[in-house]
């Protein structure tokens, strides 16, 4: 595949964002307010508590703020651009994905790559500002930073496949808005977006260990704040890599099944 067409597909959604300054301003304002509110909340909660669930104030605030920033990585509004899979299924335009010289799975991957890269730029800018302002703590050592970077990359791959499965579900159900919302909720809850998983009961942490969601966010952030030590990080990275392989194989199989269900208009 030529690099130029790939790049053009990858930049579609980011370009759409760059051409909508009001939306970018809204994102900036939302992110700023959310970071301030979340940091204030956790500082306030810890004002009478030293340490709980193995997390002190600095770790909890850092985790919560990084979770807010990380949630920006894959939060672009495809719906407005009418390019979400569910919309294509609804309007019947999904068939065009199968008529182009670019295979649909590659087009989807390129679009997602562009989105995640764009979102990462936002998250990185936010992180730099928060670090400079002392809102978040830096990683303990260069080794922790390195392992965190690897874990974050694996987490983003797992997130990509989880989101892909949600989209692939659209090929098999006529109406699936609710199922999508339920799965997105599960992803947010079990990955620790609402609150660090360490605050939850033991049975909940054990349950989430069997699911891929915690590999997306909870593991990299826990490595960053030192809640998962470097000695235990290798096992966690292996679990993340395992999920990447399993989900990659599964989604590949689902793409094949999905292609059989797509018919051009008129049958």
């Amino acid at each position: 595949m030529a690099t130029v067409p790939a790049w053009r597909a990858a930049r579609v959604t980011p370009l759409g964002e760059l051409h909508a300054p009001p939306r970018m301003t809204a994102v900036l304002l939302r992110l700023t307010v959310q970071v301030v509110l979340v940091a204030s909340l956790w500082h306030g909660l810890y004002s009478r508590t030293g340490s709980t669930a193995g997390l002190d104030e600095g770790q909890a605030v850092t985790y919560a703020v990084l979770a807010v920033l990380a949630s920006r990585i894959r939060q672009l509004d495809q719906y407005t651009g009418r390019d979400s899979v569910i919309q294509h299924m609804h309007y019947g335009t999904i068939v065009y994905w199968y008529l182009r010289p670019l295979p649909p799975q590659r087009y989807y991957a390129l679009r997602a790559f562009g989105e995640q890269l764009y979102g990462f730029a936002w998250a990185l800018a936010g992180y730099t500002v928060c670090l400079a302002a002392g809102v978040v703590d830096p990683p303990e050592s260069a080794a922790v930073a390195g392992v965190f970077a690897v874990s974050l990359l694996l987490g983003q791959l797992v997130l990509y496949y989880v989101m892909l499965i949600l989209d692939q579900l659209c090929f098999f159900t006529i109406r699936n808005n609710s199922a999508m919302l339920i799965l997105i909720f599960a992803q947010n809850l079990l990955s620790g977006v609402y609150a660090p998983l360490w605050f939850f009961p033991d049975w909940f942490i054990r349950l989430s260990g069997f699911l891929p969601f915690q590999a997306t966010l909870s593991v990299p952030l826990s490595i960053y704040i030192g809640r998962i030590g470097l000695a235990d990080a290798a096992a966690q990275l292996a679990v993340q890599a395992g999920w990447v392989v399993v989900l990659a194989l599964f989604t590949r199989w689902v793409w094949r099944q999905a292609a059989r269900r797509v018919i051009s208009q008129g049958g």
Partner: protein, 268 residues
């Protein structure tokens, strides 16, 4: 609204319910999503309550009253006025232009666009939480207190509806403003469910005077539990929260009428 208009609203609602039941699995999942969404608020509140006891000087049973009021108000809002939440999409699809041609107020047509099945789940969980909060409460539930609780729920519903109506008014002019309604819902869910005095004064002030979500449940719960004098605002203002909800909603409907008069359609 005349009796004839009420009859039409009822008939369209029944048709909407039948229509939403066409896909049974989706219908049941819709109920589930309402319930699950609310459970997320409970999970968050429970986790915080179990880890950080005595939050803001409130005991657990008192704190529980805040999400109970907010969730019940939210469930009623979704059931009765919630379609305003999706107005941005209706504007983008040009449906408002169609509504303007029909002999029924546009706002009513927006509300009758579909039946909010998820409200069944919302209300089920919210009612359960309210029952739990009242069961754990040490307060003496006199007639006056119960009346204020009912007024607080209705006021909270109207205040939330007013906020979403204001966003809808902005969306009539700038369809992309719909983006804010998602965030508003997230903020209400995350920061509307516990004592805001745990936050710094400036942030608490922002959530009181900037985005008045403190009036939805926090202030009414503070008045009910005897914390009304520690909220950082005059007691009478905290106690008047239900009334503020009514006034805010009336104001938002006036704003809606004005915005609709200026509406020019997506294509100008």
């Amino acid at each position: 609204m005349s009796l004839k208009a009420l009859r039409i609203v009822w008939r369209i609602t029944l048709l909407n319910i039948r229509s939403s039941m066409e896909y049974r699995t989706e219908f049941l999942l819709n109920i589930a999503i309402g319930a699950i969404w609310q459970v997320s608020v409970i999970v968050f509140a429970t986790v915080l309550l179990s880890r950080f006891t005595g939050m803001g000087g409130w005991d657990s049973s008192e704190v529980l009253l805040i999400p109970a009021i907010r969730m019940l108000a939210h469930g009623l809002m979704v059931l009765l006025l919630g379609r305003v939440h999706f107005i941005g999409r209706q504007i983008q699809e040009g449906k408002i232009d169609v509504y303007l041609l029909r002999p029924m107020p546009v706002h009513r047509q927006v509300q009758l666009a579909y039946f909010p099945t998820n409200a069944i789940g919302d209300l089920t969980v919210a009612t359960g939480l309210m029952a739990g909060a009242l069961g754990r409460s040490q307060l003496d539930w006199t007639a006056g207190r119960i009346s204020y609780l009912v007024a607080a729920v209705v006021g909270g519903m109207l205040l939330e509806a007013a906020l979403f109506t204001a966003v809808a008014c902005a969306a009539l002019r700038f369809p992309a403003a719909d983006y804010w309604s998602g965030w508003l819902e997230e903020l209400l869910g995350t920061f509307g469910s516990y004592p805001l005095n745990v936050l710094p004064r400036a942030v608490g002030g922002l959530l009181t005077y900037g985005l008045p979500l403190a009036f939805v449940a926090y202030f009414p719960a503070a008045v009910l539990t005897g914390h009304g004098h520690d909220t950082g605002i005059p007691y009478w203002l905290a106690a008047a929260s239900p009334l503020l909800g009514v006034l805010a909603y009336l104001g938002s409907r006036l704003l809606w009428r004005w915005s609709l008069g200026k509406y020019t359609g997506v294509n100008g």
